[in-house]
């Protein structure tokens, strides 16, 4: 086994996903199979290889620290699940 049901539960907690018992079963089995497939990489010697994060050479894209967009609170708040005037309304954070 590459992954246990306990680990699936732990990862779901990290990812903020509430899984049903049935989902936990299915994901344990499926992720195990996928992770077994990933074992194909183990046989490859990469001790002297530098990791590649980006395939195209990119340099830092600096710009002036200047506001370039118009504030549009109404347009942005139109998509909010809950709000009041120009504020987002979220569940209570500090008890």
């Amino acid at each position: 086994m590459k992954i246990t049901r306990e680990e699936v539960k732990r990862v779901a907690l990290l990812a903020r996903l509430e899984l049903s018992a049935e989902e936990e079963d299915r994901l344990t089995e499926q992720l195990d199979k996928i992770l077994q497939y990933m074992e194909t990489l183990d046989g490859l010697d990469t001790a002297k290889v530098e990791p590649l994060a980006h395939a195209v050479d990119v340099v830092n894209a600096f710009r002036e620290d200047r506001v370039t967009n118009e504030p549009q609170p109404e347009a942005l708040l139109a998509n909010a699940p809950d709000g009041e005037k120009t504020f987002l309304k979220v569940p209570k954070i500090i008890e």
């Binding site: 996903l17 499926q30 990933m38 699940p81």
Partner: protein
Amino acid sequence: MTLHELTIHELGARLKQREISSVELTESVFARIAATDERVGSYVTLCRENALEEARRADAQLKAGDGASPLLGIPIALKDIFLTKNIRTTCCSKILGNFVPPYDGTAVAKLKNAGAVLVGKTNMDEFAMGSSTENSAFAVTRNPWNLERVPGGSSGGSAAAVAADQCIAALGTDTGGSIRQPAACCGIVGLKPTYGRVSRYGVIAFASSLDQVGPMAKDTTDCALLLQAIAGHDPADSTSVPALVPEYAQSLDGKVKGMRLGLPQEYFISGMQPEVEKAVKDAVRQLEKNGTEIVEVSLPHTEYAVAVYYIIATAEASSNLARYDGMKYGFRAPAKDLTETYFKTREEGFGPEVKRRIMLGTYALSAGYYDAYYLKAQKVRALIKRDFDEAFKRCDAIVTPTAPTTAFKIGEKTADPLQMYLSDIFTISVNLAGLPGLSLPCGFDGEGMPIGMQIIGRQFDEATMLKIARVYEQSTQWHKKKPRI
């Protein structure tokens, strides 16, 4: 031939001559959608009134003699991953089910500036995660060549819409093959540009080091015209590259004599559909007749690409999708407190494949597993890119099949995620190495399903790819075949 069946370049000439109007053309496209989309299911949102308004504006410009842009008055479809101002954009996820963007993404803004008419938003796998469009939270898209088959994915709606003449051309996105594989499945031309060639600003993120925007069209010339319109540096996307954008139409000059095409042995594997192998090898022989020279090349790390991709792409996705927390926009599930809101929102808002990938990515990045999975994958990614660097010392472009099989049956691979992942086996390396790739039709299998050939270019050399594709297209008639629906 009816108007909706024509290409951008054919229609452009007629619009400029004012033989036809953009309103007539747009009406023709919507009539076609009305007649066929109940069966095909390409679209999730239609913009008929907006489109007719844009068409009237294009006609006024054409009347004034302003016909400089080849896209002026041309009806284009967009994958539902592109932010479109005041038009619902869902990424085919419940979590964005009611999202209406307050701005246009850069590629969309460029199309609008070029005078294109926006037909609607096309179906896709939720958050572009899938190879069959079956992971959409909203609709099933069927392959116009056989309604029991998938259109490929994740840009399956765009591919089906182009193949069924429900638009003149479309845009898709490609993270591991999501433009090229559906293009192959539906018998159209699809191009994934070099990473950084087209701005990703206003494109909903899946895996940021791999995602790229590209055209899906009825032929190579149309792909070149669309790419021209959307390519170029954008200050709003720090990974878009300030490289010169050549005149792509000028590269369609037929001059391929003496060009070297690499044929990688690793892309002709046992287990692939024999008809696919034969069609691609026949196409290579055709290109040889056209004056190119065929050289054997080797890409020895090909067998690791799927594993590397599904670590890197899911890791990036797990991070990108952390933003869907039910606070600022999108779906929020009712719950008793903050923590429960996060958990329930994400549980109800995401579909099974998205959850699976978030889980896989979170696992690969989590303490204790980072080195074994994510870091290892990044190292093998370097080896895969090095393979291409070596191969391109010996050739100008690489030719492979786009997918190991033609379009499979709806439901055939949904129970086995790993089998689904393996349908991207020939397209994934191109994204990992940041290269441009193009798929174009090169035949049909015994059941009448289209077969795609992939041409891979050097970084920022889309022009060579288009040149080769155009020469092949002029020697064959595959791209002119239409499905009967």
